[in-house]
Each structure stands twice: as structure tokens, then as C-alpha cells.
Amino acid sequence: MSVVTVSDAVIEELKGIVGPEYVLIDKPARYNRTRVPAPFPVHRWGDYVPDVVVLPATAEEVSEVVKLANRFKIPIVPRAGGTGLADGAVPLRRGILVDIKRMNKILEIDLEDRAVTVQPGINMLKLNEELKKYGVFYPDDPASYPCSIVAGRIGTSGFSLISSRYGHTRDLVMSMQVVLPTGEIVEVGDGGGRKLRKSSTGFQLKHLFMGHQGTLGICTEATLELVPRPEAEFAAFFGYRDFEAAYKSTGAMTKSGLATLAAVVLFDDKKVQYLRRDDEAYIPQPKSVNSVIATAIYGVEDEVRAAGKRLLRIAKETGGKYLGDEVSQGDWASRHDRYATPLHGRLLNGQVVPMCWHCEDSAINYSVIPKVRKEWHSIAERYIKKYEIFDDWGCFFYTNAAYKPWGDYLAEIDIGIWEQRLNEENWRAWVECKREITQVALKYGGSITACHGSTREGDAEFVPVEMKGGFEVMKRIKKALDPNNIMNPGKNMLDKAYED
């Protein structure tokens, strides 16, 4: 694949479209917009630097930029918060990077029909700061809540921690405006009015534009669900003597039929050990606790009180020990911040080094959790022994289904990686490790990913495997919408659409 560089003439045209101030060609602007969370191959940083960065303010500007890119067949990559964990926003073929963070206005708050229309560059925490005044909120709640952005949530089809109660990004975005790879601006969503939750006309296009990682266009506006702010919140953490007991208890809780149950998270023994190691924020537990379940119930006061009682009973009956109000409230409140704090990593000899966090996020069924977990840890162990740059930070399992806790699970294994030591050999080892982990998920009927997307080396190769016949459909759609393969090329194996 040849790399097209952006000519001065194109840069001048871009300046005409978005204004000279918003076309950045300086090195730091381009270097910093390549970087995504770790492991970021520092040793290859220079390979993926875009040629030019544009910061548009409107859908029309985005459309003109895309038309220009299409005319000159220049790769173009949308970037929101740059917090995606699957390299979706990394410009593999350089070209134009469209940073949509300036498009962060709230366009309409409709309390009557319960919808808020926003430009896609707004962050959820910021949006909710505004919505608080009206007694409503937008309940997309990833661990990256303070830093990820609506457009990136759409681009990745993200996972919300309180989804069992409120749904995930794809359920919470009612409709959106998209600039297609050829520059047309279209609306997708149920019905014609932008604010319908269910219609039956035509194809279900909204889902096509969820989780495409910027390969099918650029979202420029979105209409989102508004839900009442929960009157009451009940968080409870339970300790178990072993993983097996906690696993069974998880099943009992999630299948209980409690409609207000918003989240059930199962932390395995490796995760508890990791948190215990040296993190002062983790309140010490008795030694007998080897697995933990974190739960949260959201709703109106009367429902939550009753559901809380029932949940405590289920936990007790299945061997769980309530860990107390301090742990429960404190740890749940800080859940957004518990990720990605480095300096926890330990080498085999116990030495603490500043490691970064990589998470593998498969979607799997409840029944296979024990097997997947076991195989994942044994893969990690092999790599830890062989390469002195890895650490196993444990697994957790999150209820994954929208509006129902009993669905499948987001299964995550967190691997610490000593990024400062990444060279080509260690990098290849990491990709291999990732491949093995991915294959385990597929072997047990799971999916490569539950929310981050499959755009990182080690995942991407398996997209055709998981999608099977559906991959043929993907290729046809990609080629039809993006005849020149300009939108985020190189991702998801979609280059294959242009091979014949």
C-alpha cells in the first residue's frame, strides 16, 4: 500500500475550509495525535504520524474536508478523545487527521421527549454537568467517563458500566448525523424525526454506524437518550473464599430478575491479589477473601431499598460476605479512576517498575467464564516467564447485556507491560500474547471484543474468522460507501475489500 502524502496545495485548500488557525502541521500537533493509550509502540511512534491535523467546527466543514480527501485519495482518520484501547484513532497510513474535539456544543435539550442533541466532540462528564440542572443524565458510563468523548463512544460502540440498567452507547444514541466517505451528510436512526426509539422502516442503519471505528464515515451530530437522575444508588461489594463461589454467586445475582440491578462485576483472585499488592486506595480485606463481586443498583428510592435487601440475601445465601459500607461506597465511587494507574507493575523478582495497562476485552457467555479465565492466566504466565516486561493484573467479568444483567459478559484480562522496554522483539511477543488470548475467546464461542474494537494488531487478523460470511458483507458495504478506501484505511482487514 503506497503512502500518499499531503501536498501544499491540499493544505491550502484545508485552510480555506476550516480556517488557517485550525490546520496544524507542526510536529508536536501531529505526534500527539498519533498517540493512544498504552502499549503504544514508542519505538515506532514516527511511523504513524499524520501529515496534517484539522480541527473543524461544523458538519459542513467535515464534509468539505472529506470530499477533498476523497478527490485526492488521501487517507483520513477521525479522532475524538484518543483514549480508545484498540488503536482505532491511530493513522496507519498518515494523511489527514480530523480532530473533532472543537465540535463540543450542546445543540438541544428536549426534556419533553427526553433527548439531547450534541455535537460529537463533547465528553460525557461535561455533558452531565450541564444536564444536572434539569434532573436528567446521559447514562453512558465507561471507566473512561472523564476522558472519552461521544464520537469515540460511537466509533468503538463502547461498553457502559451501568448498562444492565440503562443500555450501552448503541442503545443510548437514538440517531446521528454522519458524513460519508464521499462527503455526503446523512441522518441515520429509527424513523425520520431523529428522536424515535423504534421503527421498522428500511434497514437498521444506526447499528452499521456504531463501532465502525471511523471506517465508514465521521459522525458529526448525535441525539442521545436522557434518563432521570437516579434518586437512589446502592453499591455493595461482597467477598468470597474462592473464585468458584464468587462465580456461582454472580450467576445467582444476575439471574434474580432484579430490574434495577445496574452492574455486577466479578473480580477474580489474581485481580484481588493485584489490588492488594500495594495500592493504598484498596481498603484491606481479610485474608480469607479471594474473590470479590461489586454490584450497583440504581433507581427510585423504594425500588432500590427493596432490591438492595434482596441482593444482600442472595449474596449471603451463596457464600458472599458483605464488605461494609466504606469499601462499597468508596470503591464504587472511585471505579472510574481505578484503571490505568501505572507503577503497579512487578517483574518476576518483585521489582516495581512503571508498567502500562493493556486490557483484552472479549465478550463471552457465563457458562465458559471459568475455562476462559484459566486459559488466559496460563498464557500470561508463559509470557511473563519468558519476557521480563509483562505482569498479570488479573481478570474481571462484567455483565454485558443491555437492560438485563443475565446476558453475556465482558471478560477482561489486564496485562501490565513495561513500555519503556518495548523494542521490536518485545513488541512482537506482546502481539503474539494478544493473539493467543483472542483465540481462546473465539474457541469458546466468544467475540474478540466487547467494546474496544478489533483494530489493533493481534485482533484485527481475526475479524474475518469471527465474522465468517458476514465479513463478505462488510467488505461489500465498505467498498460501496468508500470507493477509494480513504476512511481510516488499514483497519479491521477492510483493505481486503479492494483486493479484487
Binding site: 496544524l24 507542526d26 510536529k27 508536536p28 500537533a29 505526534y31 500527539n32 495525535r33 498517540r35 493512544v36 493509550p37 498504552a38 503504544f40 514508542v42 511512534w45 514516527g46 480541527l55 478523545g81 484518543g82 483514549t83 480532530d99 474535539k101 472543537r102 463540543n104 466532540g121 465528553n123 462528564l125 461535561k126 440542572k133 473512561s144 472523564p146 476522558c147 500495594d278 495500592d279 493504598e280 486506595a281 472511585s334 479512576d337 481505578r338 484503571y339 490505568a340 494507574t341 501505572p342 507503577l343 503497579h344 516495581v352 512503571p354 508498567m355 502500562c356 495497562w357 513500555e419 519503556q420
Partner: protein, 405 residues
């Protein structure tokens, strides 16, 4: 390591581990509280970028010439450091806190040392060479009138306790030091002025002119010593940072001066009934947590305690954590180089105050008051900006006079 020259190599060596602490997480939790990024939405201006650039420098991919400009975009408010999960969770255990303010300051110094200067900062600092004070526009500034604000107050020179008056307060908002001096006198506190008061040197240091800043610091310390000062009452948060962070760095163990921040002292005086607030003030107010007090020094209780003790006042508080994402835009020399963005930061701060339907925004940082007042006048209805000490003096029945701009 592929860094370009010695100065940069030294810099990278000093800051690389701190930079990697951020780089390896890189989640950008800091972005949405950064006052500059909130306005510009430019990733170059994020704390994340400030650290990533150092890693790129280590790789030889970026040099000080490439990045110097970006480090102008910081008010040094410290919000990012507080919001950073590295500080929140691993900070205590490993004695590791993501240092961003220091990095920005050090990078600005590296720029100046490397001969890269920002035009307005250069002019600003050059003007202070003769004036020895912050070059405030349109006001005659020199050592002869540095204490003109104290006219008629009959304050002695020297003594064990010295009131240090910020340049902005000395020349621009003289109502603040006047109010402060009068209420201290009323409460029976004995204090004097310096013989010759120069700028604290903080702004020059923040703009990267470290050597220059040190000259000021040395002068001031010598003056304190000469008049027998043991304790300094500070009425501006910026000075407080300079005295508590820069001066100990310059002078090490020798720096044995006690520093007292005015709100802590006044709250104590009220608590001990040495200062009685009797005159009701019929205003609906909210409080602006000055970044350097709240975010950087953890002083947020005493100003609130004082406000609550003023009779007649309706105080609509916003908790100090929410205020991590506010800033007046006035700090870190930022407004000197980026006045438009600074203005927008102040405008947003006032808009937040207006949402609470107040008639007054009370600050405890004189630097913030000029820009905030200007934006408050734009609002309908207007929001007036007052200094906390002005309100205290008023409620203590003092007619302090002076100028407010």
C-alpha cells in the same frame, strides 16, 4: 537516547520518569478540567501532551524548538495534577505525583536558556528590570510609590511581621491592601512594611526567566532580614506559592521565614473574636477558589469560614472539588501571551457564577480580580467581583477607600 543537545539531555534525564508515569497511562483524565484545553480543545495544550513531548524528545523526535510554544498554554492552576489518577491512587504510596506545573515551568526555563523567547513575556520581564515591580499598564510604577497604597494608614517600616503586598494590589487594586491593613490593625496585629519591596519574582520564574526571578528573591529576602522580619503575611496566592515553593528551592535550609496566608490569619482572628464582623452585608455571593489556594495549597476552608461569618450575606457555595475545573485565566503569565483565551476562561468562570443567580463573586486572589471584574461587567445583570478582605473590612465597619479596577 537520541536527544539533540546537552541542555535538553539534562532536562530529559530529570523529567523522563515523571513523563513516563503519565505516558504509560495516557488516559487524559486531566483534559476536561484544564481551563486552557476547555477553551481551545487543542490536544497540544493538554497536560498529556506536555508529558508525551518529553518522551518524544527522548526519542529525538521533537526538540525544544518544536514544542516551546505549546508550553505557553498553561495557567499553572494545578487542576490536572489533582485530577490525575496517578496522583490520586499511587501518589501516596510511591511518593509519586504527576508533576505538571513544575514541568511546564521547567520547560519554559529550558526555552529561555535555549534562546527561545515569547515576545510579550520578554517585554514584561525587561520592564521589571527597572521597575522592580510587575509592569502594570497605565500606572506610574517605581520604588517611590510602591507603598503609596498605604497613604494615611500610618504603617511602620520593618518589625517582626511584614505585610507583603502584591504588585497588582500595590498599584492597581489598592482597596485590597488597604482593607487588609486596616482590619489587621483593628484586630491588634502588629506589622510593618518593607523598606524597599520588589516583585516576588514568581511571574518571571513562571515565564522561564529563572535567573531574573532569583535576583528579586534575593533582594526581598535581604530586605526582610535587614528589617528584622521573621514572619510574612501574604495576601496574594501567587506570592504564597513563590515564597513557599520557589524561595526554599533558592535558599535551602537558610530560608527560615514563617509564612502566613491572610485568609488563615483572618479566619483565626474571627474565630478568636479578635475581629468582630457586625455590619451586615446584603449581598448574594459565591466564592471563586483561586487555583493556587485551593488546588495547589489546599486552602479552601478558611475563606469559606470567613464568608459564613459575615452577617447578612447569602452565600451560595460550590464545593472546592467542582471548582477544580474553573480558573480565572490570570495565572502563570498566560494572560500576557494569550489574552484572548484568558479572557474566555474568565468569561466562563463568571457564567458559572451567574447560573447561581448571585450579585457578587468573591475572590481571594488579587490577580484574578481585574479580569474577572471585566467579565462580570459584561453580564446582565452584572456580577460584581469583590475581594474577600474588602468584604471583611466592610463588615468590620471600616472605610478603607483605595482603588478597585
Amino acid at each position: 537516547m537520541a536527544v539533540n543537545n546537552n541542555l535538553q539531555q539534562e532536562f530529559v534525564k530529570k523529567w523522563r520518569d515523571n513523563a513516563y508515569g503519565c505516558f504509560t497511562s495516557g488516559h487524559k483524565f486531566c483534559r476536561e478540567v484544564c481551563p486552557v484545553t476547555q477553551v481551545t480543545r487543542n490536544e497540544n495544550h493538554t497536560p498529556t501532551a506536555f508529558h508525551a513531548n518529553i518522551v518524544a524528545m527522548e526519542q529525538g523526535a521533537l526538540s525544544i524548538e518544536d514544542i516551546a510554544q505549546d508550553y505557553v498554554n498553561c495557567t499553572m492552576c494545578g487542576a490536572c495534577e489533582l485530577r490525575c489518577p496517578n496522583t490520586l491512587f499511587t501518589g501516596d504510596f510511591y511518593r509519586h505525583r504527576t508533576q505538571t506545573v513544575k514541568v511546564v515551568k521547567a520547560m519554559r526555563a529550558l526555552a529561555v536558556q535555549s534562546g527561545i523567547e515569547q515576545p510579550n513575556w520578554k517585554r514584561w520581564v525587561e520592564a521589571t528590570v527597572d521597575k522592580k515591580s510587575e509592569p502594570v499598564l497605565d500606572v506610574p510604577i517605581n520604588q517611590d510609590n510602591v507603598a503609596a497604597w498605604a497613604k494615611g494608614l500610618d504603617l511602620p517600616i520593618g518589625g517582626e511581621t511584614i505585610l507583603f503586598c502584591d504588585c497588582e494590589a500595590a498599584f492597581y487594586r489598592t482597596s485590597v491592601p488597604r482593607a487588609t491593613a486596616m482590619l489587621l490593625k483593628k484586630a491588634g496585629i502588629k506589622f510593618g512594611l518593607m523598606r524597599e519591596q520588589w516583585c516576588c519574582g514568581g511571574p518571571a520564574a513562571e515565564m522561564g526567566y529563572t535567573d531574573h526571578a532569583r535576583v528579586f528573591a534575593e533582594h526581598n529576602l535581604a530586605d526582610w532580614r535587614a528589617v528584622g522580619a521573621k514572619r510574612i503575611i501574604v495576601l496574594d496566592p501567587h506570592d504564597y506559592i513563590t515564597f513557599t515553593e520557589d524561595y526554599p528551592e533558592y535558599f535551602g535550609e537558610d530560608f527560615d521565614i514563617e509564612l502566613v496566608y491572610i485568609t488563615e490569619l483572618v479566619a483565626d482572628l474571627i474565630r478568636r473574636k479578635k475581629l468582630k464582623l457586625t455590619k451586615p452585608i446584603k449581598r448574594v455571593v459565591t466564592y471563586h477558589d483561586p487555583c493556587r489556594l485551593n488546588k495547589r495549597k489546599g486552602i479552601f476552608e478558611s475563606p469559606r469560614e470567613i464568608l459564613r461569618s459575615i452577617p447578612g450575606l447569602t452565600f451560595k457555595d460550590v464545593d472546592h472539588v467542582t471548582q477544580w475545573s474553573y480558573c480565572s485565566g490570570a495565572g502563570g503569565g498566560f494572560a500576557v501571551e494569550r489574552p484572548k483565551i484568558a479572557e474566555e476562561i474568565s468569561r466562563r468562570r463568571l457564567a458559572k457564577a451567574a447560573e447561581l443567580e448571585v450579585d457578587t463573586l468573591v475572590s481571594a486572589c488579587v490577580w484574578s480580580e481585574r479580569p474577572l471584574s471585566a467579565r462580570g461587567r459584561e453580564l446582565k445583570p452584572k456580577v460584581e467581583v469583590r475581594d474577600l478582605m474588602e468584604l471583611v473590612a466592610e463588615s468590620a465597619g471600616l472605610d478603607y477607600g483605595g482603588v478597585k479596577v
